[in-house]
Symmetry: D2
Subunit: 407 residues, 4 copies
């Protein structure tokens, strides 16, 4: 395992639960940044599947620059309409042409694949955003050509790292972190969408813990067709608050205060006083989004924790360190954190450009546990991380099946 350069040390971080203050954020399914991440990733997967089917391998691409430009809408009780569509620009780079062994040039239908992936994601994820009439999907992709002969000659078990980059993961989540994550997951669950269809997909949860009180500030877009009056709207907010408090009781004993759509001015009703949307997302009215500006690989934004700034979404799952190392660090830290008596684990991975991706320049495991435990689990932890690194050449399979959390 020497080539893994794994270093195991005692963590110097104080676990967030023990700090006087925490701040945690999660942007949910319908948030413009989440939409951008999702479309980046959906397009990457669609393209990957095409490459695989046609050429037996995933070819180079990086679609981690999607811009979601907000439209204009006029929600009103019981209805409303989209006035100006959302504009989505998918940009990045892809292999647009493959030179086959006989020298023939095979063009790749990158555009149609992007349109398909984008539409399908919208249809599957946002009940009331109609890709036919509410969205303009455009793309600008840098061209790339590859010679299959070269690829097969260079073929190796582990590709070289594309860049000097890094990944970070830690486990377990703090209570506040879990609460923020679970709150969004709850409100965007199929169950709640059925029971309380007025709850839109654009949910942003901000958790601030001061001592033993967790303040959950929730911005929840309410779908205008499902509420016919300010009273109904307020009823939905009350219901949301109740659901969150129930969920919170499962997670924490701390005091939890929940604020839903605190900017509301009910006296104005649907004339701008409430957080009403026609389509479930605030992108319908001017809120823009961009890939990489939302959640990190563990689904959260945790400014007080180590974080990678790399977007995991849209990057190819074969050689792009910015995606792979964050996933590995996240997964391996979760597994190591299961070992007995471990309070917290941080993993930091740094690549060396050109070297096989399973041989990082540095792999650093920081464990919060007593010295005895660390001595005992040191080797085990190294092996777990090595296993995850050696699994990098099959990780794409899980990525394509959607089994890997990315944002």
């Amino acid at each position: 395992m020497a080539q893994k350069n794994v270093v195991v040390e005692k963590s110097t971080y104080v676990p967030p639960d023990l700090l006087p203050v925490e701040i945690v954020e999660r942007k949910g399914t319908g948030h413009p940044d989440y939409i951008a991440d999702s479309i980046s990733e959906a397009a990457s997967r669609e393209l990957s599947r095409y490459y695989l089917e046609r050429f037996g391998r995933i070819l180079h691409h990086n679609l981690d620059k999607v811009l979601v430009v907000g439209g204009q809408s006029a929600p009103r009780f019981g209805g409303g309409e989209v006035l100006q569509p959302i504009y989505i620009l998918v940009s990045g780079r892809a292999t647009t042409e493959v030179v086959e062994h006989d020298g023939s040039r095979v063009p790749i239908p990158v555009g149609p694949l992007i349109l398909k992936a984008t539409r399908n994601w919208i249809k599957a994820s946002l009940r009331y955003l109609d890709p036919d009439h509410h969205v303009i999907i455009d793309y600008r992709i840098g061209k790339g050509s590859i010679d299959l002969v070269d690829i097969y000659q260079r073929a190796q078990t582990y590709p070289g790292a594309n860049d000097t980059s890094m990944g970070i993961g830690y486990a377990p989540l703090s209570e506040t972190e879990r609460l923020v994550l679970e709150t969004e997951r709850l409100l965007n669950s199929q169950k709640i969408k059925k029971e309380l269809p007025a709850v839109g997909e654009d949910i942003k949860v901000m958790g601030v813990r001061k001592g033993d009180t967790i303040h959950l500030t929730v911005a929840a877009a309410i779908v205008s067709r499902h509420v016919t009056s300010t009273e109904e709207y307020l009823e939905v907010k009350k219901e949301i608050r109740k659901l969150i408090l129930e969920k919170a009781a499962e997670i924490t004993n701390r005091k939890v205060e929940v604020y839903v759509n605190t900017g509301d001015d009910p006296s104005k009703g649907d004339k701008g006083g409430l957080y009403l949307v026609v389509t479930g997302t605030s992108a319908e009215h001017g809120d823009d989004g961009a890939t990489g500006r939302g959640n990190r690989a563990n689904g959260l934004i945790t400014p007080f924790r180590p974080m990678s700034l790399e977007a995991t979404a849209g990057k190819n799952p074969i050689s792009h360190i910015g995606k792979l190392y964050n996933v590995v660090a996240f997964n391996a830290s979760q597994e190591i954190a299961q070992l007995d008596n471990i309070k917290e684990v941080y993993i930091k991975l740094i690549s060396q450009i050109g070297k096989p991706i399973n041989e990082p320049l540095l792999a650093y495991i920081a464990i919060n546990a007593d010295e005895n435990t660390i001595s005992r689990v040191r080797h085990q932890a190294e092996e777990i991380l090595a296993k995850h690194l050696d699994g990098l050449n099959r990780l794409w399979e899980k990525v394509l099946r959607g089994e890997v959390a990315l944002f």
Copy 2:
């Protein structure tokens, strides 16, 4: 009728059938220019219906600038694919905001209406062009605001002309003209699409008559999924030729020579030698189109006949002379041409900006007939034209129902 300023005179034109040479062209349903015209008009109608329903009248707009930018495709026998989508940009001006009587501002969902109209037209007209994956639809529309109070105060039976402009019509069509028109209509008929589905929608017919021989040059896109070999392709061409010759026999006794896809090089097969398309239109591979660059109001391009350069498509059907006067001239000339002993009728209408649209600056009827006939029908002809002019305030109804030929 004095205010109609109708002048009836003997025509100085030699009917085209009597000229030594004629040249006539028609661009069919799937031609990029026809697509642009159609989308202009579909968008105008969608918008008109919205205005009507919401405000009781059609508000100002002009969508006569649609650009269809060709994509890229790889047709091949039995299949093929679109590599790069067609890009459609709908541009023009519209009333984007209405100030109601109480001073409130009502925004118009111009974008979603344009997207809807464009998609619906494509789905209804081009069997194999999939608006979900083969097309990017964008728009750039100049904003306009109108105050309903002003409208109602200015309300009058006939709006003022928007411009100094003109319209031209003539009847009847020459034999060559009818042949060109009917050839395209035949090849794009539901019957032929069923019997010979390989015939794409992009049909361009050029008719050149020299003396008593009519040369019909037909460019007919052949849908690649429906032909599996060069032989089948040539068979389809043979079938097209046969169908056209049968149709020609109904229309003319002149000698008709038919050339289909004369640029073909069968030795290259589906590697660029044949006119194959995936989607039915050449716009899939680089052929661009623009509103107003195709057929005139009678469905033809007739360079030796008087023609207006105005696009009829996309203009509002209430006050836009470039649309209305061409339709009136076309319709009225057809009706007048039915009168006994009339060989040919030309109508030219010139507006005077600001004057009610049913009071042209000049309305000119040129009749090809003997003097006696002209004397006899003069008044009748004037009345027919006056009737059509006075019908201008209801013409929009027919336009919206699609009962008016425009291109």
Copy 3:
């Protein structure tokens, strides 16, 4: 000369001067359609020069689809500003890659060349339209590749016609036509721009002759920075009228009535009552333009005359019939019209796809003269046209030098 298939006949057209009614239009330098034509052509020339310099010949391209989408502006006496830039989309097809004799692929900088040509044209032609801040220039060009080996093997004196298409020309212009043309040329002359700088470049002239009265309706954009009051504006209009009447006196003895900006409502001043512009063109405020929607090759729109609908602008000057045949027909008819006793000449040229461009399918000269004259000049006329056709392989030189009138 047999292969030229030239037919000379007596014209059946009544010269427009003798008809009771004429209608003629010219769109001037700053008209959105003229801007679109100009940018198409400027981009084609820039590209042609690049091809020439780099590869010794002009390669295939067709940039005849430029869309000018109007912006928004707020002109006011003595100043004003552009609120939203004009958006210009250059579309079409070009040779984007050349395969050299050694198999290497040379990419062509199509985009930068288009940007350069567009900016340069604007700077040279529109004094107050600042390409840095008032215009967004974008492009979408279909890719094309060519193998230089193939080109040189196929090299021949005359390339094959790219399409079955046609060109039309006639001479001389009627009085009304000359008057319309000269009026615009005058108002956009350097002299007038110096003496009366308030006259913008967007000049549209519509001439309607009824009997012996010519009505000239002139829409002349007035540059707001050069007028400080309604009075000054009206003074400029008066001056324009005077200039036109002086010019008219040189051209015609007919009565000429001049109407300038008839839609004005002076009581509203610079609050929408006058035809004021900040930049010299109405494209600054919502007026759109498209290539091929403006003047024909002789600089006019003459609906009662034979006209080709083909855009001459933006097409490559080597093999594109829609450009070349209109130029040849125009030039040859002018030369033939100089012969003694000839009243009028019409030339119609029809290509046959694939045949050398100097061998039209049909070349038709219609001469208005007495029989004797026609007999006498018949051969001369044929030779003149043949000379122009045989000159087609060098016509591009004049096109690149800007010596050929196109619109």
Copy 4:
């Protein structure tokens, strides 16, 4: 000061210099993400100045979503060219219309201001990127209207926070951090640009410290016109390395290893083997950038330090917490760190939506010092932070003058 809710505590963080591993990154002037940040901020300032001059105050806007889509280029020794321009899309929201006290509506020239700001920034910052020919600048901005009456009624010393958000700052920088920052600043200094003009603006520095060795990996785009051979290129790299080592010696006693353009394959020369650019930025060839994806407010990406994910660039400097609190935290921590015996300071600020921006929900100062020192400086630290918070209503002045570091 109670309303500031300032908490001063002993820091639990181990200073990075004491940790076994550090990783730090800086993206320099010509990096696509830096370009995006810069254009966001330049456009925001241009707009702010316009609002100020016209209305006496900076109106609401947020332009923090700029996308830079890479073009295509062909660098070669001694020259090279741009083949496809870089496409820049500025998106976000702005006040596009102001309702004045008399009810009149004043439109804002948002588009021209954005074009101007973008072009000016490029011209001032990237020597070889020509905005006229190498760049397409477009924008899509959500509209907003504001009533001046409302503004003045709501006028108050401190505006309310626009969101529940946060800012983070710390001081001082570690040695590795300083080294990374100074390395880029050096290579992009005017001095080096003069002495070694071949060094492009696109400089990315990654610093990895393992124990007492700092590995500096530098990606430095080399301008192709300034090197005529592989030898010259390698000479430039050698010179860069030397310059960095000299600078490093001023900053640290640790061992520093410098790697420049490690991906090079000199055997391929300018055929793809070297990091050559025509324009100074990798955006010329496919590398995309987006606002907020680059450096944090202190100019660095420090994944092991607390970081805010908020983009500081492009946001309005009046009320946008995501910008203001990061700047305050950064500035105040620097000032506090100057106090005697303080090793390290972290500041975390959390806003409460709607509350005056100088009254955060929580203001947290963590000081690394001995207990005595902390007791002694506690009050001073509180006052410093309070001063910076109270200065928030004038911070925009420094922002507009470019005196505030943002990325």
